[in-house]
């Protein structure tokens, strides 16, 4: 409560205890195993649905609980402590990026078809934006969707798509009018099994290994026009709108991961002995930890600040970008320093810290790179 005084209420803390118990019992003990398998059980989506974790901010009409984004923030932060970036990314993608646009822009029918089963964990969703030649540069994507009667014909490819292999539906960013730059972007839902849609190989990654990350291919893939999300040509602002929560979720996950790493490091330095005393007996180690805890607190409070503004409906694009950048970059540094504090053991695969170190590295890249964050912040300064 101390960290989030004035932000989280008693019932949020009660929910935090529930999530923490789930993470401790049902996720954390398996982090190593799922990492080695490069996959977590699909059953986890259904389990999370059953626990009500996939629909916290969605209306009850679709099986959500309409509890609000602050509860989801608690979930994201606690998931960050599960010891596996891949697990939190795969599950997180389901309730943040892939269903977010359905909730915001979907029609009643679309919500019943995809949002409701995704909230139950029966259907797995993915968000398809990044392409081999365009990632953070969303307006530069090349996948096209030509209107042909009452269908769109999609051609192109996507890559680095979280949950891509297992996805039952993909919320896809396409160019419906390639001549109009970012104004020619739209979002359309493509279901698994649609002729012309194929999933390439599962990609091998440095970290987030337990999550499935795929290449997707579209070759004259015909999708009913009713699968268009919202208004044709509005894709860019739809994607940008959804990015805010995605970035906050990455910042919250990084804060949770730092909690986990620092708690482990703190125990380690109290027990590990060198030169006749515990590591914590060395001033250099004590000061190092003091600095790391201070850095985490800075990242946490900036994240909470952006979260408060976002929840209050303020235009918090700059603060959200700052929080995403600071939290994910701090997480990388904390992971690196904690690994160092583990000495040789930190370099061994049997210790958890190496996984954190690899997982953390995705933070300043995914959901908009740190460089893109800086551009956004600069733009907010009028530069």
């Amino acid at each position: 409560m101390l960290h989030g005084q004035g932000l989280f209420q008693e019932e949020h803390e009660a929910f935090r205890r529930t999530v923490r118990a789930v993470v401790e019992k049902e996720l954390r003990p398996f982090a190593q195993e799922w990492e080695a398998k490069e996959e977590f059980p699909r059953e986890l989506f259904r389990r999370f649905g059953e626990l009500g974790f996939l629909g916290l901010k969605y209306p009850e009409a679709y099986g959500g609980s309409a509890a609000g984004e602050l509860y989801e923030a608690v979930l994201l932060e606690e998931l960050g402590r599960c010891g596996s970036g891949g697990v939190s990314a795969g599950l997180g993608a389901q309730f943040t990026i892939s269903t977010g646009p359905l909730h915001l822009f979907g029609t009643e029918d679309q919500k019943h078809r995809w949002l409701a089963p995704a909230i139950r964990g029966e259907k797995v969703g993915a968000l398809g934006i990044t392409e081999p030649d365009a990632g953070s540069d969303v307006a530069g994507i090349r996948t096209t969707a030509h209107r042909d009667g009452d269908h769109y014909v999609i051609n192109g490819s996507k890559t680095y798509i979280t949950n891509g292999v297992r996805a039952d539906f993909v919320v896809l960013a396409v160019k419906t009018d390639p001549s109009r730059g970012h104004k020619g972007l739209s979002m359309v839902v493509v279901e698994k099994g649609t002729p012309g849609f194929s999933v390439g190989r599962k990609l091998q990654k440095l970290g987030w290994r337990a999550s499935d990350t795929a290449e997707l291919f579209f070759e004259d893939c015909r999708v009913p026009a009713e699968n268009l999300l919202g208004v044709e040509g509005q894709g860019f602002s739809q994607i940008m709108g959804n990015f805010q929560w995605e970035r906050l979720s990455l910042a919250l996950g990084a804060v949770g991961a730092m909690d986990d790493m620092l708690e482990t490091a703190l125990e380690h330095v109290k027990q590990r002995r060198a030169f006749g005393q515990t590591l914590s007996g060395f001033q250099v180690v004590r000061h190092k930890l003091a600095e790391l805890f201070t850095s985490r607190e800075c990242a946490r409070q900036l994240t909470y600040h952006a979260l408060r503004l976002h929840l209050a409906g303020e235009y918090a694009v700059a603060q959200t970008s700052m929080a995403k950048k600071v939290a994910t970059e701090t997480c990388c540094r904390v992971a690196d320093e904690c690994l160092q504090l583990h000495g040789g053991a930190g370099y061994m695969m049997e210790y958890d810290i190496q996984r954190h170190w690899r997982d953390a590295r995705l933070g300043p890249i995914g959901g908009g790179t740190s460089e893109v964050m800086n551009e956004i912040i600069a733009k907010q300064l009028g530069l």
Binding site: A14, F15, T18, A21, S65
Partner: protein, 265 residues
């Protein structure tokens, strides 16, 4: 069926417990607290019985305002309402049992389900005292031996079950050399062992509903109980640190050491 359950506030077993240098107690700063795990099992068992036979589960706790957190937890799990006996300061097992006796006489439940002990002082006495004070039958250490996760276990006859005529409970209990089955006339007191069930998580809808569920405040004075402890804690100290073990080269040496040094064989 009305079931009364308890929710004692105890130190989180994950916390590092430190004894104060003067031995007067433990250092409370920075500690986390939770519901006594044995009580949580009792809440779960109460909820299962109430779900099966209809009725309500009332949860009670004794302590300062802080215990409301544990009451809310039980309410979030599904208890209908809560009774809070507001009391600051030391209590012994007799005092707790006397307070619970008064609450039971007021609430008139058919069944009281408590943890067999609390994980802070591990006394294992309150349930037995309470049954004695009330003049009720008791079945302690309700338990099961099967794996808690297996399908077989889930389909099995529950360890605490109402008899067909609804006038007694049949309780499977853990004893030194196996399991004993008792039938106890209602009203009765049951205490729970660790292997009885896996308590549910407090769901978000449960947490939301718990906010508006009533907590009735009582005090030892209102209940007319003198809780002046008859037991005084003179000193607390941490158990001595365990010495490192040794490795023996073979069985013969082991037997020799067990015989001559440990003198156990």
């Amino acid at each position: 069926m009305k079931i009364l359950v308890t929710a004692k506030r105890v130190e989180d077993p994950e916390s590092k417990i430190k004894v104060k240098p003067d031995g007067s107690g433990i250092v409370q700063e920075g500690l986390k607290y939770k519901i006594n795990p044995f009580d949580e099992i009792g809440v779960e068992e109460g909820l299962r019985l109430a779900a099966k036979h209809g009725g309500e589960v009332v949860v009670v706790s004794i302590g300062t305002k802080d215990v409301q957190e544990q009451l809310r937890h039980a309410l979030a799990m599904g208890a209908t309402r809560a009774v809070w006996v507001n009391h600051a300061g030391a209590l012994d097992q007799l005092g707790i049992a006397a307070l619970l006796q008064k609450v039971v006489e007021k609430e008139k439940p058919d069944l009281v389900v408590l943890g067999k002990q609390s994980i802070d002082d591990d006394q294992n006495q309150v349930g037995q005292y309470l049954a004695e004070f009330l003049g009720w039958g008791q079945a302690t250490f309700a338990s099961k031996v099967e794996s808690l996760e297996s399908e077989a276990e889930k389909n099995k006859v529950p360890a605490v079950a109402l008899t067909a005529d609804g006038k007694a409970v049949r309780v499977v209990r853990e004893v030194d050399n196996g399991l004993a089955t008792l039938e106890v006339q209602l009203p009765a007191v049951v205490t729970t062992d660790l292997r009885l069930n896996q308590p549910r998580y407090a769901s978000l809808p449960g947490i939301m509903k718990a906010k508006s569920k009533p907590i009735e405040e009582l005090t030892p004075e209102k209940l007319g109980v003198d809780v002046t402890p008859r037991i005084q804690v003179l000193k607390m100290s941490a158990p001595p640190a365990r010495k490192a073990g040794i490795k023996v080269p073979d069985v013969a040496t082991l037997v020799e050491k067990l015989h001559n040094e440990a003198k156990v064989v």
